[in-house]
Amino acid sequence: MSIYTYETKKDTRSGFGAGMEFLSLTNPKVVALCADLIGSLKLEPFIKNCPERFFQTGIAEANMIGIAAGLSIGGYIPFATTFANFGTGRVYDQIRQSVAYSGKNVKIACSHAGLTLGEDGATHQILEDIGLMKMLPGMVVINPCDYNQTKAATIAVANYSGPVYLRFGRPVVPVFTPEDQEFVIGKAIKLIEGSEVSIFATGHLVWESILAADILKEKGIHAEVINIHTIKPLDTQAILDSVKKTKCLVSAEEHQINGGLGDSIAQFLATSMPLPQEFVGVNDSFGESGKPADLMDKYGLNAASIVIKALKAISRK
């Protein structure tokens, strides 16, 4: 069976909260803002440790982004936090002008991204945020895969100077990355070595890709699994090194196919090494209410779908 196991399942947003707790004690320049969702963002420990460095904005996300930009001018490292839908799409122009174009050191840290937000339905399930954010010049886009990696990413982005979109989620998922693993922005992590198909996954789909590789192995197919936690800047070297061996690929993400990770990889490979590619993602549709696992199954964001797409990619070689 898999070389990856886990003892517990945790939500990635709690990894963010743990990262912020660490930063509350270790980096006096880090400040946090939240638009009336402290509990959802797991910010209680940060606020308890340094209440003077927390800014409650109320349900006013546009203002939150502007204030974050201002705090960064004053030398602070603001984390502007809310749900991914309200922290990106709702305030796109504020991020574009006051953060990205202005080159401000603002971290937009958002939970409840994607379908796994669940029962609240499509109004809250943003599936376009990676695309929106990666289109902004200079914006770093990160979607870690589990609790440990989200914690590490939170700490890493505080040490990076420049605008960052950090995306995480609500459901509990296996904690399988090492607690002490260094998070290097823009450096993909090879999880499983393989030779016949490359699976490039981000966020919650990384674990599903590991499961998919196990299923493929039972069929005698050796899939390579690479965790692309940073969608931008994309680790093009890691992608190229992998597909040079495997000659076909699948991308997997909890996001629209349009504008997501797979789209970034395809754009890169089209100009460097065109190869058969299949996409696991939401295909030009909104989500809906339901239990996270049921939604992921219905929209084909699971190990079984990755296996089908991997076989298809192999067949197109």
Binding site: E52, R53, G58, A60, N63, G70, I73, G75, S102, G103
Partner: protein, 286 residues
């Protein structure tokens, strides 16, 4: 600085504005002329600026730590800000001739993207500047820095919802190191503000949100000076200050006043000549 000196600088700034807008045949002269007296009184009198000069160049400090900072939220009146910054020594006056031209640091709307000294945030898409100013004011408090943050908005800009998010936030969080202005010229692109989207009573609105509100004639330099001095004295009492500044779009050029027509239109050669004849060249044109 003496009132008369400020009036004299304002005349030159108005000339700069007209020549910049004429030079590229684009830009926004109306609001720029209307806010000239305020920006001159701020940068040459009211504001405490740290202008460290090395090799005849101002060393611009992005953080604005321990100095007063100004944010222009209605970024389309960039000509007045550029002229005042250049005349104050932030960058070479000759650079004003590059306004809105290719490869210029003087973009149509201000931006720090081109590293122009004096600009700390991009503005142009309206409604965002007050939020940014509040953030800087709160950073100053964390830094135990007692200097002041200023922010200018337009009256048409009050249509934007984000302005009212910020208006609600500042008194709630006791941002009392902030002085904001609204340029009440009564005009926006499609016509008079009361016809396009009536602001009604801005004093009542801001007072209801928890601000102290002052009024000033934006073209009476002595009044501007005393109003700014009064506003500064009001700071530090948990309450931000809003100054409703009555202005005339196109102020200083008779045929540009009293209408929204000159909001975003450049004068032709003849109009420029006529306009310049109404303004003395006090500091030398660029």
């Amino acid at each position: 600085m003496q009132t008369q000196e400020l009036i004299s600088i304002a005349s030159q700034v108005r000339r700069d504005i007209l020549r910049m807008v004429h030079g590229c045949q684009s830009g926004h002269p109306g609001g720029s002329l209307g806010c000239t007296d305020l920006l001159v009184s701020l940068y040459f009198d009211a504001m405490n600026l740290k202008l460290d000069v090395t090799n005849n160049q101002v060393v611009f400090n992005m953080s604005g730590l321990n100095e007063d900072v100004f944010f222009l939220s209605n970024g389309h009146i960039s000509p007045v800000l550029y002229s005042v910054l250049a005349r104050r020594g932030y960058f070479p006056i000759n650079e004003l001739s590059t306004f809105r031209k290719i490869n210029s640091r003087l973009q149509g709307h201000p931006t720090p993207h081109e590293h122009l000294e004096g600009i700390r945030i991009a503005s142009g898409s309206l409604g965002q500047g007050l939020s940014v100013a509040i953030g800087v004011a709160q950073a100053k408090k964390l830094n135990l820095d007692s200097s002041v943050v200023y922010c200018l908005m337009g009256d048409g800009e009050q249509n934007e919802g984000q302005v009212w998010e910020a208006a609600m936030y500042a008194p709630h969080h006791k941002v009392d190191n902030l002085i904001a202005f609204i340029d009440v010229n009564g005009q926006q692109i499609d016509g008079p503000t009361e016809k396009i989207m009536n602001n009604r009573d801005l004093q009542l609105k801001y007072e209801a949100f928890g601000w102290k509100v002052l009024h000033v004639d934006g073209h009476d330099m002595a009044c501007l000076q005393s109003c700014l001095a009064k506003a500064k004295q009001m700071l530090g009492n948990d309450i931000p200050v809003m100054i409703l500044m009555k202005t005339e779009m196109g102020a200083g050029v008779d045929f540009m006043m009293g209408s929204h027509k000159w909001h975003g239109v450049a004068p032709n050669d003849q109009q420029l000549e006529e306009a310049l004849s109404q303004l003395s060249e006090t500091l030398g044109d660029y």
